[in-house]
C-alpha cells in the first residue's frame, strides 16, 4: 500500500485519494495537482477566503443517495427557446450534440488542463485539475459571431464526487454567448472548472443559472483571461444549495478591456450561496462593473467576497463594486467582504456594501395604492434583484432569468 500524501486525512479525503490512485490515466501535472491538494486539504472556516463557506464541514454532513432519473427524463431547458447548441454534462458524462454546428464554433473532448499556475494555492481548483478525466474543449474561431448561444447543462443526479472542466477560447474579434445551467436533484459534490481566454477584440457573454436541489454541494470556478480591447460580460443567478460557491477570477492582461461581473442570490430554507471573485488589473484603462444582490430568507445565507487588485501597470483602471443584501427574516444572514488592493496611483475604484430588511415606507406606499402585502413584498424584492437581471443583454435570456426570479418569489418568499 502506498503512503498517504495527506496528513491526518479525513475519511472523505482518504476516499478521494483512493479514487485518485485507482484512476487508470493520470498525467504528471495531475499528480502534482493532487499533491498540492493533499497538502492543503479541503478548506475549512479557518482558511482565509473560506471562512463563510466551509467545504470541509459541508462535505462531512451525511450525503443522501440522489435519485437517478431514467434516461430521457432530463427536462427541456427553458433556454431551449434560444435554439442553443446544447451540451450536457450528466453526472460527469459529457453529451455532445449531433448535427450541424454554428459556423465558427468547434468543440470536442480533450485532455484536461494541466496545472494552472494562478490556482496552485487553491485546493479546490487543484482537486478539480487532479480528478477531472476529460474536459470539454471549445473554440470560437477568429472573427466569428455565433448566431446561436452555447448552452452547457451541468446535471447532477447522484451522490458522491463529480468533476468536469470546460476550456473555451474566444479568438480575436469573435463573439460568443455561453449559458450554463446547474441542475438536478443530486446530493453530491460537483466541481466545474471553466477556463476561458477572450482574445483581442473578442467578447464573451456568459450567463450562469445555478438552480439545483438543496442537498447539493456545487462549486463553479471560472478563470477568465481577458486580452486587449475585449469584453467579458457575466451574470449569474444562484438559488443556493447545501453549499453553492461560484468563483470568478478575471485577469486583465492588456489595455482597454472591460468586464461586468453581476450576480444575484436567492436563498431560502437552510441554503447557502457564495459569490467570490477577484479581478486583477495588470494593464491600463480597463473597466469593471460588479453588482451583487442577495436575498435571504428563513436561515438562508448569502456570501459575497469581491476583490479588485490593481497592479502598478493598471493605471486608469475604472472599477466599481456594489453588494446589497436583503434579509427577509431574522435568521437570514449576509456576509460581505468587498476589498480593494491598489498599487497604481491614477485609478478610479470604489466599492459599497449594504444590508437590510425591506423598506417599510415603500411597503406601505405600495399597499396604500392597493397592493396586498404579499404582492407588495414580491414587487419590492423583484425590484431589488431586477437591477442585476435587467443588465442581461439578451432579451430572451433576460426573460427566462426574470421568470425564474418571479417563480422563486411566488414559491419561496
Amino acid at each position: 500500500m502506498s503512503k498517504s500524501l495527506l496528513i491526518n486525512p479525513s475519511a472523505l479525503e482518504a476516499g478521494l485519494e483512493a479514487a485518485f490512485a485507482a484512476r487508470s490515466k493520470t498525467s504528471e501535472p495531475q499528480a502534482a495537482a493532487f499533491q498540492r491538494f493533499s497538502k492543503l486539504g479541503f478548506p475549512n472556516r479557518r482558511v482565509e477566503g473560506w471562512k463563510w463557506s466551509d467545504f470541509n464541514a459541508a462535505l462531512r454532513k451525511p450525503q443522501e443517495k440522489g435519485k437517478k432519473p431514467a434516461a430521457g427524463e432530463i427536462p427541456l431547458s427553458p433556454f431551449a427557446a434560444l435554439h442553443p447548441v446544447e451540451i450536457r454534462i450528466v453526472d460527469g458524462q459529457y453529451q455532445l450534440p449531433e448535427g450541424a454546428r454554428p459556423e465558427g464554433l468547434r468543440f470536442r473532448l480533450i485532455d484536461p488542463s494541466g496545472t494552472i499556475p494562478e490556482f496552485e494555492r487553491h485546493p479546490m481548483a487543484m482537486l478539480n485539475v487532479a480528478m477531472t478525466g476529460k474536459a470539454l474543449g471549445m473554440q470560437v474561431v477568429e472573427g466569428a459571431v455565433l448566431n446561436r448561444p452555447i448552452l452547457i447543462r451541468h446535471i447532477n443526479t447522484g451522490a458522491g464526487f463529480t468533476f468536469a472542466q470546460t476550456l473555451l477560447r474566444v479568438s480575436k474579434n469573435a463573439w460568443a454567448q455561453l449559458i450554463e445551467t446547474y441542475e438536478g436533484g443530486g446530493a453530491g459534490f460537483y466541481s466545474h472548472l471553466f477556463h476561458t481566454v477572450v482574445r483581442d477584440g473578442g467578447r464573451l457573454d456568459r450567463l450562469v443559472l445555478q438552480d439545483t436541489g438543496g442537498d447539493a454541494v456545487v462549486h463553479g470556478i471560472c478563470a477568465a483571461k481577458i486580452d486587449c480591447a475585449s469584453r467579458f460580460d457575466q451574470t449569474a443567478l444562484s438559488t443556493g444549495a447545501r453549499l453553492a460557491r461560484h468563483e470568478t477570477h478575471a485577469h486583465f492582461w492588456c489595455e482597454q478591456s472591460s468586464a461586468r461581473l453581476n450576480s444575484a442570490a436567492l436563498v431560502s430554507g437552510g441554503r447557502h450561496s457564495d459569490f467570490t471573485s477577484d479581478v486583477i488589473f495588470k494593464a491600463e484603462a480597463c473597466e469593471t462593473r460588479q453588482l451583487h444582490k442577495g436575498v435571504a430568507k428563513d436561515r438562508g445565507r448569502n456570501v459575497f467576497q469581491g476583490k479588485f487588485h490593481v497592479e502598478r501597470g493598471g493605471q486608469k483602471t475604472d472599477a466599481r463594486m456594489a453588494a446589497n443584501a436583503l434579509l427577509l427574516s431574522d435568521d437570514a444572514e449576509a456576509n460581505h467582504k468587498p476589498e480593494l488592493e491598489i498599487y497604481a496611483d491614477d485609478v478610479e475604484c470604489a466599492h459599497g456594501s449594504t444590508s437590510g430588511a425591506l423598506d417599510e415606507d415603500a411597503l406601505f406606499y405600495l399597499r396604500q395604492r392597493g397592493l396586498d402585502e404579499a404582492s407588495a413584498r414580491t414587487l419590492l424584492v423583484e425590484a431589488f434583484v431586477g437591477e442585476v437581471i435587467d443588465g442581461i443583454g439578451d432579451e430572451a435570456a433576460r426573460y427566462i432569468f426574470r421568470a425564474r426570479v418571479n417563480d422563486w418569489l411566488r414559491n419561496e418568499a
Partner: protein
Amino acid sequence: MSFLEIKNLHVTVDDREILRGIDLTIGQGEIHAIMGPNGSGKSTLSYTLAGRDSYEVTDGAVTFDGEDLLALDPDARAAKGVFLSFQHPMEIPGVATMNFIRTALNAQRKARGEEEVSAADFLKLIREKAKLVGLDDAKLKRPFNVGFSGGEKKRMEMLQMAIFEPRFCIMDETDSGLDIDALKMVGEVVNALRDSSRGFLVITHYQRLLEYIKPDAVHVLAGGRIVKSGGPELARELEKSGYEQFIEAA
C-alpha cells in the same frame, strides 16, 4: 349615514401620543382643509386614516360609509377608495412606473369585484392623465419617482389620484413645493373629481391652493387636537395672523 366620521381619535407613535382626541365629520361631496403648525399631527392623521401600522390607535373610532375603517388593512382601505397623496412621496428603484400603477389599479378593481383594465385601455388612460398633470412619457418610463424633483413627485401623486378616482382623497401638503402652474393643475385634478359621491381632506400650510379648491370647511390642528373650525375665511385669517394663538390654546 355619514361619509367619513372621526370620533375622539387618539394615536400614539413610538410611545408618544400625537393625536389627542380628534373629532371630524366630512360629508359626501365636501372638501375639508386642515391647517396647523409643523409637528401638530397632520401627517399622523393622514397616515392613521390610510392604515400605517406603526401608528397605534389607542382610543376613538373612524367610520367610512358607516364601516369601521380602522379594522381594514391599508390595501383594503385603498380598494374602498381611500387615497393618500403623500407629503413626501417615495422613490422606489427597480419598480416600473406604468406597470406598478396598472397593477395597483387592477388590484383595487379586483377587490371591488370590478373588471380589470386591459393594457391598451390603461395606456390610453395614463397618457391622458399624464398630460393633465404635466408628466411626459419619459418620466413614466423611469423607475418609480427615481431622480424626480419634489414637484414631479407631487405630480406623480396627482397622476395616480386622477387614475384611481378615489372616493376619499387625503392630500397631505400636495401644494408644498409646487410652482404656480402645478398648483393650478392640482386644482383641476381635484375639481374634476369633485362630485357628490366623493370627499377630500386637504392638508396645507397656504391658503393659495384653497383659492383653486374652495373648501367647505377649514380646521386648525394644533397639539394633536382640532382647536378651531370655520369657513374659507379662516384660512385667510390664518395666513395673516399665524398659529400663535392656537398653540396657546392647545
